[in-house]
């Protein structure tokens, strides 16, 4: 039987506000354990939360950028459960009156656009981190992350494949980065997803029983988890069993999910309105002000790239999948007359080398202007395309400007006829067979000889000039 996979993602994004959601501690990542906390975020007796207004602003930005309706009245609630990383034993979240609801984003897979619904976006606080590894006898808690603001973006079960799930995550990440509300660093846990997944025979209307996999923190693990869990559920059904509604933990190392707790064991969070905080009542004008201040979003920018620069859809999609990359491109294009060439360099050599080095686009070691100037050097004929690849490589490794590299390494195109005549002479002398072939009318032989000459000059010769000189020499004799 053929099955359809149904996926809904709950995405948590840490907001990049300077201070935490309910106190003035820094949200900075990576401080020494328990140094970014205070009595409030560690849940000391008697402390009270005060909502950071920036958090509301950032969440509203996210809501507007994902086409949500912004609630003029919303409130915060307590979600009660015991765990050592949650010092108050309740998380302040939003239950029945979230800040944003009924939005959507468009994703692209296989050249097709699909609209994915967003049920709601609400604000909440992050928990701390347990550190199990280094201590055999006990577990330690680091409260630095406690109270870092999060938004939870609850998606509709509109996704039908691992690829769609991935595209949805990538689009969300890119939107959140474009509007500057989250750095979305998955490796630091600032963007993570819970995957709700069920399968059903193709054509069946009602949804199958779903499972939830918590806290997936890379695109790769999301894709793998979706594929593995879908297969597991299908196997379960095919072998006459039933899928059990439960929470599962994805074990990325082993490539499988294991049961955490069943529906019966599920927490009763006993949500109730947080009495220490007042309702959030938003002024319409304030919301409209935020709407007006939203920057160009990925979809708009992508359209602009296609329209203004004539880039292929696919390239425009890749370039706008990351704000950093897209800004890098925009920056380079401003300093170059050849947007297409700039895009090709990014899509080709830059992406390749980043992948090779295992680096993120955030870490491109040279400014966008260098790439623009490199393209300029090729256009002016100062260096050849082949040499340019070398210069690019050096630029990436050393961070030096392209002109400096060309100068230091003596890589300018040699277009001095006098200097090249000797090279041409040498190539002709060393390859009598090819010369003979050429004279017999084999045009291909000329290409070989040009190649030899380029090699002789380590690629620095002006290929057109070499071509001309070779032809002249052979035609003359």
């Amino acid at each position: 039987m053929e099955y359809e996979i149904v996926i809904g993602l709950e995405v948590h994004a840490e907001l990049s506000t300077k201070s935490k959601i309910y106190c003035s501690c820094t949200t900075e990542f990576g401080g020494e354990e328990n140094t970014h906390c205070c009595p409030i975020c560690t849940g000391m007796p008697g402390v009270l939360p005060v909502l950071n207004k920036k958090v509301v602003e950032y969440a509203v930005r996210a809501g507007l950028a994902t086409n949500c309706t912004i609630a003029d009245y919303s409130k915060q609630d307590r979600k009660n459960y015991f765990y050592p990383d949650l010092p108050k034993a309740y998380q302040i979240s939003q239950y029945d009156f979230p800040l944003c609801k009924n939005g959507y984003i468009d994703i692209e897979t296989d050249g097709k656009t699909k609209r994915v619904g967003i049920t709601r976006i609400h604000i909440e606080e992050d928990a701390g981190k347990l550190m199990h590894d280094e201590w055999d006898t006990g577990t330690l808690v680091d409260y630095n992350r406690c109270g870092v603001p999060l938004i939870e973006i609850v998606g509709e079960p509109d996704l039908r494949s691992a690829e769609e799930a991935r595209a949805y995550m990538e689009k969300l990440r890119s939107i959140l980065q474009f509007i500057g509300v989250s750095d979305c660093k998955m490796q630091e846990g600032s963007l993570r997803a819970d995957v709700n997944l069920s399968v059903r025979p193709v054509g069946q209307k009602e949804l199958g029983t779903r499972t939830e996999m918590k806290n997936l923190n890379s695109f790769r693990s999301i894709v793998r988890a979706v594929e593995a869990e879908a297969q597991r559920q299908i196997r379960e059904i095919e072998s006459g069993g039933t899928v059990v509604q439960e929470t599962r933990r994805w074990d990325d190392e082993r490539g499988l999910s294991v049961s955490m707790r069943s529906k019966e064991e599920a927490h009763d969070y006993r949500y109730f309105p947080e009495p220490d905080l007042v309702p959030i009542v938003l002024d319409k004008e304030w919301v409209e002000g935020i709407r007006a201040s939203l920057p160009e979003l990925p979809d708009a920018r992508k359209k602009r790239y296609v329209r203004e620069f004539g880039l292929p859809e696919y390239d425009a999609e890749i370039l706008t999948s990351s704000k950093v990359l897209s800004d890098f491109f925009d920056d380079a294009v401003k300093q170059s007359s050849n947007a297409k060439a700039v895009s090709n360099w990014i899509m080709g050599d830059l992406m390749r080398i980043l992948k090779e080095k295992g680096m993120e686009v955030e870490n491109i070691p040279f400014p966008a202007g260098y790439l623009a100037r490199l393209v300029g050097l090729i256009e002016k004929g100062t260096i050849s395309g082949t040499i340019a690849k070398k210069v690019f490589e050096k630029m990436f490794l050393s961070g030096k400007g392209p002109e400096t590299i060309v100068k230091e390494e003596g890589l300018e195109v040699v277009s001095d006829e006098g200097a090249l005549t000797a090279v041409v002479r040498k190539v002709l002398d060393n390859n009598p067979q090819s010369v003979a072939d050429y004279r017999k009318g084999k045009e291909k032989a000329l290409g070989f000889l040009v190649g030899q000459a380029m090699r002789e000059t380590k690629g620095k010769a002006d290929p057109q000039l070499i071509n001309k000189l070779l032809k002249e020499a052979m035609d003359k004799a």
Binding site: P45, G46, L48, R78, P84, P87, V141, F272
Partner: protein, 486 residues
């Protein structure tokens, strides 16, 4: 007269006239504590050295003319559920028996800014849950009027300390009557301010939507002085009211002509002790004689106030007290097998019976499937109670009635009957549910020579009218001059 017997404003005059120093006053109070607290048991912690050191510092400031507050140099006590940096804050619980806060509550900060002298931390019902101060992990506080009786609760330590002259004034907290009922039992003045008038930051939460800090004092003037020190907007408390706060001493006017007073029939009907009723009605007569217009009226749904209160307060408490899990601070069970067992053992050993009862009640009320029938229903009752008061205050400036159905009862008398104990709060909880201010002032003695307190309930943020009526009553009666013999 001994120094420890005087009120804050009397001591303040002596200090200003340089007839006496802050150190001398503080020593007088500390000696008094040393002499009588073994019998009364008001304090969990006495900060003797710290108090004297502070008194020296303040004395210097007073002499240099740098201390201008009328409370400068006045020794006082704080209920042990308000955080004091560096001073043990236990909530009278084994759970926090070793907890020394790294920060000051806002009220403590404000009092420090007024140069008051902190004598120590007073006993209470564990986590403020109780009406007799019998639910303390540490000790039983006795009523200074009769050492076999309870001082009321949960601020029993603060009320007893003021009544026994072990503190010039004290702070208590009131979630369902915890300032007013002990004030009534101990014959002192107690004020529960409007919800939002005094910051809760640093007050260890029992029921966040009901808790409010307020003063217990020997007279109305001291009450006003204390309010001037502690009331005000606090950006650290989101439920704190951002408004202009009056100078409460301006309400100390001996005139209530034309003030309209309503007396709820339901408060003087079934269940009230005869002597209490008599004293309250006589007080009403006094008010009438002083120019107030008094009449009885009906305050409906009073009978639902107690169940609504115990649902709301227990629900919030079940969440507020969840943080005491043995992980970060406070008590941790010595023996446990795993994380869940650590929680279970710690909370089983760390909390007393009444606290556990309320946590269970509150957890149940919030559980899925029961939320609508209990918690939500209680919130609806809350709205109706508020509306009832709104209606009353469209006609009256003030609502007056008893504080508790009885005077101080015997230790152990109600300890095994929680429901009977809960009925102690019948006239006080509605005030918390509606977020209104309530003031208790002595209005008589019963046949056992035990004090009876009159409760005045005001419009939200209208503490001024409460203080004015109470001051007038005080100026024209002598009940506040009664002191227990210890």
């Amino acid at each position: 007269m001994e120094l420890y017997e005087l009120t804050a404003h009397e001591l303040s005059d002596l200090l200003r006239e340089k007839k006496v120093g802050a150190v001398e006053i503080t020593r007088s109070l500390l000696d008094r504590i040393e002499k009588v607290d073994a019998k009364v048991g008001s304090y969990i912690t006495v900060c003797r050295d710290r108090a004297i050191e502070k008194a020296r510092e303040v004395e210097g400031k007073i002499y240099r003319g740098e201390a201008n507050s009328p409370l400068a140099g006045i020794p006082m006590a704080i209920k042990d559920n308000m955080c004091t940096e560096g001073v043990l804050t236990t909530c009278a619980s084994r759970m926090l028996s070793n907890f020394i806060p790294p920060y000051d509550s806002t009220v403590v900060k404000k009092l420090n800014a007024e140069d008051v002298i902190l004598l120590g931390k007073t006993n209470m019902d564990e986590f403020a849950m109780g009406s007799s101060t019998e639910n303390s992990y540490f000790k039983r506080t006795k009523n200074p009027w009769d050492l076999e009786r309870v001082p009321g609760g949960s601020s029993g330590g603060s009320a007893a300390a003021v009544a026994a002259c072990e503190a010039v004034f004290a702070l208590g907290s009131d979630t369902g009557g915890s300032i007013r009922q002990p004030a009534s039992f101990c014959g002192v003045v107690g004020l529960k301010p409007t919800y939002g008038a005094v910051s809760r930051f640093g007050l260890v939460a029992f029921a966040s939507s009901l808790d409010q800090i307020g003063p217990l004092a020997k007279d109305v003037t001291d009450c006003a002085l204390a309010m001037n020190a502690i009331a005000g907007y606090d950006p650290l408390d989101s439920t704190s009211a951002d408004m202009n706060y009056p100078d409460y001493t301006r309400s100390l006017v001996n005139d209530i002509k034309g003030i309209k007073i309503g007396i709820p029939k339901e408060y003087i009907g079934e269940g009230i002790h005869g002597e209490v009723k008599k004293a309250v009605l006589e007080a009403v007569e006094t008010l009438r004689r002083l120019g107030a217009e008094c009449e009885e009226f009906s305050l409906p749904i009073t009978e639902y106030a107690i169940p609504a209160y115990y649902l709301i307060s227990s629900a919030e408490a079940s969440s507020n007290l969840a943080r005491y899990d043995g992980i970060k601070y406070g008590y941790r069970a010595e023996k446990f097998t795993d994380l869940l067992d650590l929680y279970k053992q710690t909370r089983s050993e760390g909390f007393g019976a009444e606290v556990k009862r309320r946590i269970m009640l509150g957890t149940y009320a919030l559980s899925s499937g029961y939320y609508d029938a209990y918690y939500k229903k209680a919130l609806q009752v809350r709205t109706l109670i508020k509306q009832g008061f709104d209606q009353a205050f469209s006609k009256y400036d003030l609502v007056v009635g008893p504080t508790a159905p009885t005077t101080a009862f015997k230790i152990g008398e109600k300890a095994d009957n929680p429901l009977e104990m809960y009925l102690e709060d019948i006239y006080t909880v509605s005030v918390n549910i509606a977020g209104l201010p309530g003031l208790v002032i002595p209005c008589g003695m019963d046949g056992n020579n035990l004090p009876i307190g009159l409760q005045l309930i005001g419009k939200a943020f209208d503490e001024s009218t409460l203080l004015r009526v109470a001051y007038t009553f005080e100026q024209n009666t002598d009940f506040h001059k009664n002191r227990p013999r210890i």
